[in-house]
Symmetry: C2
Subunit: 436 residues, 2 copies
């Protein structure tokens, strides 16, 4: 049988933040990442999205205020109004750089460079699937088209990104060849895209690490969420040395979307709290999500990171007890960083006497621990029969309190207003613990 | 400038499924995993959850029918009814094994073994946070309590799992010590739990790989989703050699929940299609999610993998074109595997002429490619002004069709019923492509 050392709760010596970047990731950009916000491009491809010019401008301003580095807009060749909207947003004078996203074709590039954007994101499918069924071109053609478009955009003094589409189903040698080519002629960044949402985190890490050994420019990543890995893939890409992540508000995009801005914030604040808090206005996240959710007529998912209605709700008795003693026991995110508040759900049959005791204190009543346990048993009994609300619990507590206090009142002939003062040995109300 | 080889679209020789298990993961259980379904335990800790006995039984039967390996139930000491419900579900004679989840304490264990369960899941907090603020015990105490409970449960002939809580914030040496101890005395499996949702995929892989070198029993993993990585962490755990994953329907649980059953199915079917399709009734996923969503009064999130309303909706013109030629271009999941259907969203300004041409065919009308492009331009123009619905697009197409067909009708004096037959050189309707 093993013999454990006495528990010593000293501060860890090696690493300040155990959830921070892995020291073995010497190329990591976890603490130095940038966001390309694509609600107004990828997000416009969401089934429900129709943004008027006014709504686009409102969203662009809110994104800029939040602190995103880039705002990506729908191609100006998508429709006449798309072009006008692109030009209008370029004229807003935002801090964020404005990009537009086009096919790797001179027809598109010539229109894009005239809109006033700061940069152009160029994309072409490189997988066997897309080469065969989408544009029908081979890698030689792709290479030539890429060079022509890149040289042209550069000649206009604009930023240029070259991205393959469906990178994770493309031939690795083809990918490395084309990226090496475009890196040599000089692009600001290359993009890899998990267009169908098939990639897994360790695959992403490997591809990014390999690319880092081939190109000197920045690497941008775009992850679809079909198999639920878009946030994790983004994080792992940064670990591998990618610098920029494509996001959209609530992840809206083609099919079930891409890496969501809010979810990525949740992931990144754990790893790089100072960087994230200094750079992004996290307390504006909820308003930003509400703005976009209303524009595309969806509800914020109940299980959304940070802003889902129960993201900071604790229910089981054992959880509630520890949270009351120290919120870090069951929280890796601090709700106040996002302007949110914590909630202890005590009106249910899984509740524990610590949560009920805290409620007793909130009600400014005084019960002993033994009495709290007894009233908890009554609450659990009713909770077995039907869903409870806070009023139910408060009634049970108040009834019980009146009951156990009655003999004292009678003997001393005090009015019921004085009941609260009977047991002065109890600690003061602990409301502050619920909102710290 | 690089010179690319001619594209050859031959079948890959090395690996049949490029999204399958990584050959370097020699301990991988990606093709041999099991599910511990915890909707009736972790899910009951979801803020909105109140399950009546009848609803619990209905959910347990549906889970069993779906094909989960284990069903985990709330501790029988949580409340009197919890105990009765546990006993009732054990008597259903389901194929799935029934587990209950208790604190690492003899008081709980004595009640649990009398309920009729097939196994007992024991948990105790091992992180500094939980040792200090939850149970207040040191590792020596934990070790002794674990041994006593494990020996007792084993003596009753039941399966036993020992899990640390908050494993990713626990001291690694403490963890390895306690797991080695319980593995030696013989447990069916050990569990690691990311109780606060802080873990990232490569961390998970490392911990699982390390544990695999210490214990010989199976490893079970439990991931909360606070930072959006619960599906990816589960997948990476299986790559590292974990065998069992805790899931719940829609991921319901404490705060924003755990690895969702449906999302994990999306991830796993990409990696291990034959295994997943042979073991789980995927076409029942939507009904199962609807059952639980209604029971806890939430909407299925708009962006839910597989069952979200737009999970198989394609919108941008470039996507629609390729999907019409071959769905694999922009789909890693086949909707028909889940009893779902694909949808091409053509009523918007991002639409392309290939999608409109497909709609023209569906309407049994005949237009040349040039005519399809012309009517597409009209549709995009209206789509710039306001959101479109299918009726809008159909009206525009029909009007345009009538317009271009009119001279023919006049010259031949045919009735409008014959219009469809005018251009017999056009291919037949391609409805089948939309539902393949």
């Amino acid at each position: 049988m093993s013999d454990f050392q006495e528990v010593t709760e000293s501060t860890p010596k090696v690493q300040v933040n155990p959830y921070g970047p892995n020291p073995s990731d010497f190329l990591s950009n976890v603490q130095n990442f940038q966001l390309i916000e694509s609600t107004l491009r990828e997000g416009e491809q969401f089934a429900n999205a129709f943004f008027t010019t006014e709504k686009k401008i409102e969203i662009a301003k809110a994104l800029d205020d939040f602190g995103v580095d880039y705002i990506e807009l729908t191609s100006p060749v998508a429709s006449e109004q798309s072009k006008k909207d692109c030009e209008a947003i370029c004229k807003l004078g935002l801090k964020a750089k404005i990009l537009t996203h086009i096919r790797c074709h001179m027809d598109d590039a010539r229109v894009a460079v005239e809109t006033g954007v700061d940069g152009v994101d160029v994309v072409i499918g490189t997988s066997k699937f897309l080469r065969q069924y989408s544009h029908g071109k081979d890698m030689n053609y792709i290479s030539k088209a890429a060079i022509e478009v890149i040289e042209f955009v550069k000649s206009k003094g604009l930023e240029i990104r070259f991205s393959s589409e469906d990178s994770f189903r493309s031939d690795l040698v083809d990918l490395l060849n084309i990226y090496k080519t475009v890196d040599k002629i000089g692009v600001n960044r290359i993009g890899i895209a998990d267009t169908v949402g098939c990639a897994n985190p360790r695959q992403v890490y490997e591809l990014v690490r390999t690319l880092k050994s081939v190109v000197s420019c920045d690497i941008e990543c775009h992850f679809h969420n079909d198999t639920g890995c878009a946030i994790a893939n983004a994080y792992t890409a940064l670990e591998g040395g990618a610098r920029l992540i494509d996001v959209s508000v609530l992840g809206i995009g083609e099919r079930n979307g891409i890496t969501p801005l809010g979810g990525l914030m949740a992931r990144m604040i754990v790893a790089a709290p100072d960087y994230v808090k200094s750079k992004y206005k996290l307390h504006k996240l909820r308003d930003l999500e509400t703005l976009v959710a209303e524009a595309v007529e969806v509800n914020i998912p109940f299980n959304n990171p940070i802003t889902g209605f129960c993201a900071f709700t604790h229910k089981a008795g054992i959880h509630a007890k520890a949270i009351l003693a120290n919120p870090s026991t069951y929280e890796i995110l601090n709700p106040s960083d996002f302007g949110m508040t914590r909630y202890i759900h005590f009106a249910n049959r899984l509740t524990g006497w610590n949560a009920i005791k805290s409620r007793v204190d909130q009600l400014n009543l005084h019960l002993t621990d033994a009495q709290c346990k007894e009233v908890t048993a009554k609450i659990k009994k009713l909770g077995d029969i039907r869903p409870l609300n806070i009023d139910d619990v408060d009634s049970i507590i108040k009834d019980y309190h009146a009951e156990v206090s009655t003999p004292v009142i009678k003997s001393k002939k005090k009015s019921s207003d004085d009941v609260d003062e009977i047991d002065i040995s109890k600690p003061a109300a602990k409301k502050s613990k619920l909102s710290e």
